[in-house]
């Protein structure tokens, strides 16, 4: 069967294939670690925002506490590695499982809250977790955990100075989140979740199970975010609550999707490609991040996009589809 939906989905898949091919060669001409680092972070945040978008964009449940899943994923994988020598590839699976379960645990009471209260609840839960980890001495507390170097290997995702392998791992992670989002978009789940986002009462009158829909979206979103945490921990070699389980990070996870286009397939990548380099520039020229200047920058960006392109930056690339005429 051929119709606008199947054609669009095929086009998306082809675009993604071309894009991945381009991204594979993108870092090759750039040899300085700074640029490659930036590319890695851009892909990381694109993937995290893509994961966030599965819950926030597709299902309409705005989480402002996603660093919880990122941070817990990082801790799970890292502690398994440090304590038991479990390779991070398996650590990632454990991270995904624990983060996904945690998302269900947060969702259980919080999805009964409506609208803004859910967003607020996610902030509160994440802040509580932050304080808990900060004071939890068995897992390093405020001083964090160093990931010991076990020699250069793909199995352990550790490389002495090379950045390229991490780039490809991040690209793989991004591709995973994108494919998940693409698959969901075309499946019964995706339709149900979007129905929940658009109109809960109409959705359930058509037999859509609202609460389980939110739970499933949260579990997948949280699980994918946890994988990101596991990879990030190997990449930076050191984790502490301030760098991986903080409020500003939660915002930074959601922001590329908001900037690029909430609920869209390409918004997260586009948003990250704009936001992450900009953030690097601002911390280079305006001093280190965390000074509040970058938060002001984000705020300004959101306002500009909200006023100028309410549907996000992806709407720049759409030819009249979905009412960009307005």
């Amino acid at each position: 069967m051929q119709n606008a939906i199947t054609l669009r989905r095929r086009r998306e898949l082809i675009t993604a294939g071309v894009l991945v091919a381009l991204l594979i060669v993108l870092p090759l001409p750039f040899h300085d670690p700074y640029t490659r680092n930036l590319m890695i972070l851009t892909l990381l945040y694109a993937a995290l925002a893509q994961s966030w978008n599965i819950l926030g964009g597709t299902c309409g449940q705005i989480s402002l506490g996603h660093s919880l899943y990122f941070g817990v994923g990082a801790y799970v994988s890292t502690l398994l590695f440090v304590w038991h020598g479990v390779p991070p590839w398996f650590g990632m699976l454990a991270a995904a499982a624990v983060a996904g379960l945690l998302a269900l645990l947060v969702g259980w009471p919080c999805f009964r809250l409506s609208g803004h209260y859910y967003a607020i609840a996610t902030v509160v839960v994440q802040e509580i977790a932050y304080l808990l980890f900060l004071n939890w001495d068995d897992i390093g507390g405020a001083s964090g955990v160093y990931v010991p170097f076990h020699g250069q290997s793909w199995l352990n995702l550790q490389f002495r100075t090379a950045k390229l392998p991490y780039f490809y791992v991040m690209l793989g992670f991004f591709a995973l989140t994108w494919i998940a989002a693409w698959w969901i978009e075309g499946s019964r789940w995706g339709f149900s979740w979007r129905a929940v986002k658009d109109d809960v009462i109409a959705a359930r009158s058509l037999g859509v199970r609202v609460f389980p829909s939110k739970m499933a979206a949260a579990a997948i979103s949280g699980g994918l975010t946890g994988i990101g945490g596991a990879i990030f921990a190997q990449f930076v070699g050191y984790i502490d609550p301030d760098s991986i389980l903080s409020g500003p990070l939660s915002i930074l996870i959601a922001l590329p999707a908001v900037l690029g286009g909430v609920g869209t397939l390409w918004g997260p990548l586009l948003g990250a490609a704009v936001l992450i380099p900009l953030r690097e520039l601002s911390s280079t020229f305006l001093g280190s991040s965390g000074s509040g200047v970058d938060l002001m920058l984000y705020g300004a960006l959101i306002m500009v996009v909200a006023l100028w392109r309410p549907q996000g930056l992806v709407s720049l690339f759409q030819r009249g589809r979905n009412g960009s005429a307005s």
Binding site: M1, N3, A4, I5, T6, G186, S187, R188, F191, S192, R194, A195, K197, D198, D199, I201, A202, A203, R204, S205, L206, G207, V208, R209, G263, N322, G323
Partner: protein, 242 residues
């Protein structure tokens, strides 16, 4: 013939407002039953109870002899009850086809099957031309059709129409009437709310008139229009006397 839907002594109040008081009636399979009454009579509230959106305070609702009241909207939809809304509730981030697919997914798991079902239903409702339009771009009349299509895509036994003809031009209303007839011809039982008598009466086999939350009278269209209480409820005491 056994009733498809039975309403037994149903009461529902919101705070101090008694929206429905001891309402009882049957809907026979295959019929178009009108539900009439002035604004605030309790018609939409009754639909909310039948579709599971609210739980009645007292009484029960049976579909094919099985109790459905209090089971919630999802169970009611699965059991075969579909509805449209007085104030249109389209999924505005989706195209028309996607809206109808949500309905089709009620009984289908695969996207391909849901698409085929949606195409068939859109064709039936005269929406094929608008299949790829974003739902929020539709005209009011088209939005009403979309609600009917979405509901029909769930393959219901009974369809509840809440003022689907209200606010349409006479031509659009006539097209709506034709659609309702076509739905009935497919074997779907219809319970329709309309407070404009001229529109409903030619369409229905019987009608229930509600007033102030209670059943005022039940009968054929000819009986309804002659009923003094109905005239009073609609037009006021002056007309009833004359």
């Amino acid at each position: 013939m056994a009733a498809l839907l039975e309403i037994r002594n149903l009461s529902k109040s919101f705070g101090g407002v008694a929206a429905n008081v001891e309402i009882s009636f049957d809907v026979a399979p295959g019929e178009i039953l009108g539900l009439l009454g002035p604004n605030g009579a309790g018609k939409t509230s009754l639909f909310n109870s039948i579709s599971g959106e609210v739980t009645p305070d007292a009484g029960e609702i049976l579909l094919e002899g099985r109790r459905i009241s209090g089971l919630g909207p999802v169970a009611c939809a699965m059991a075969g009850i579909a509805r449209t809304f007085q104030v249109v509730r389209s999924f505005d981030s989706m195209s028309v086809r996607e809206n109808v697919m949500v309905g089709a997914f009620t009984r289908l798991g695969s996207t391909r099957a849901a698409m085929a079902q949606a195409d068939e239903t859109m064709e039936f409702c005269g929406l094929t031309r608008r299949a790829d339009a974003p739902a929020h771009m539709l005209s009011p009349a088209e939005k009403r059709r979309l609600e009917v299509a979405r509901a029909l895509a769930t393959k219901p036994k009974i369809l509840l129409l809440d003022e689907m003809l209200t606010g349409l031009t006479p031509t659009e209303a006539q097209e709506g009437v034709a659609l309702v007839r076509a739905v009935q011809a497919q074997g779907v039982t219809i319970l329709m709310v309309e407070h404009v008598m001229e529109v409903v009466l030619p369409l229905v086999s019987r009608a229930i008139v509600l007033n102030l939350g209670r059943v005022l009278t039940t009968g054929t269209p000819a009986e309804i229009v002659k009923h003094p209480e109905v005239i009073r409820a609609y037009l006021g005491d002056r007309y009833a006397a004359g």
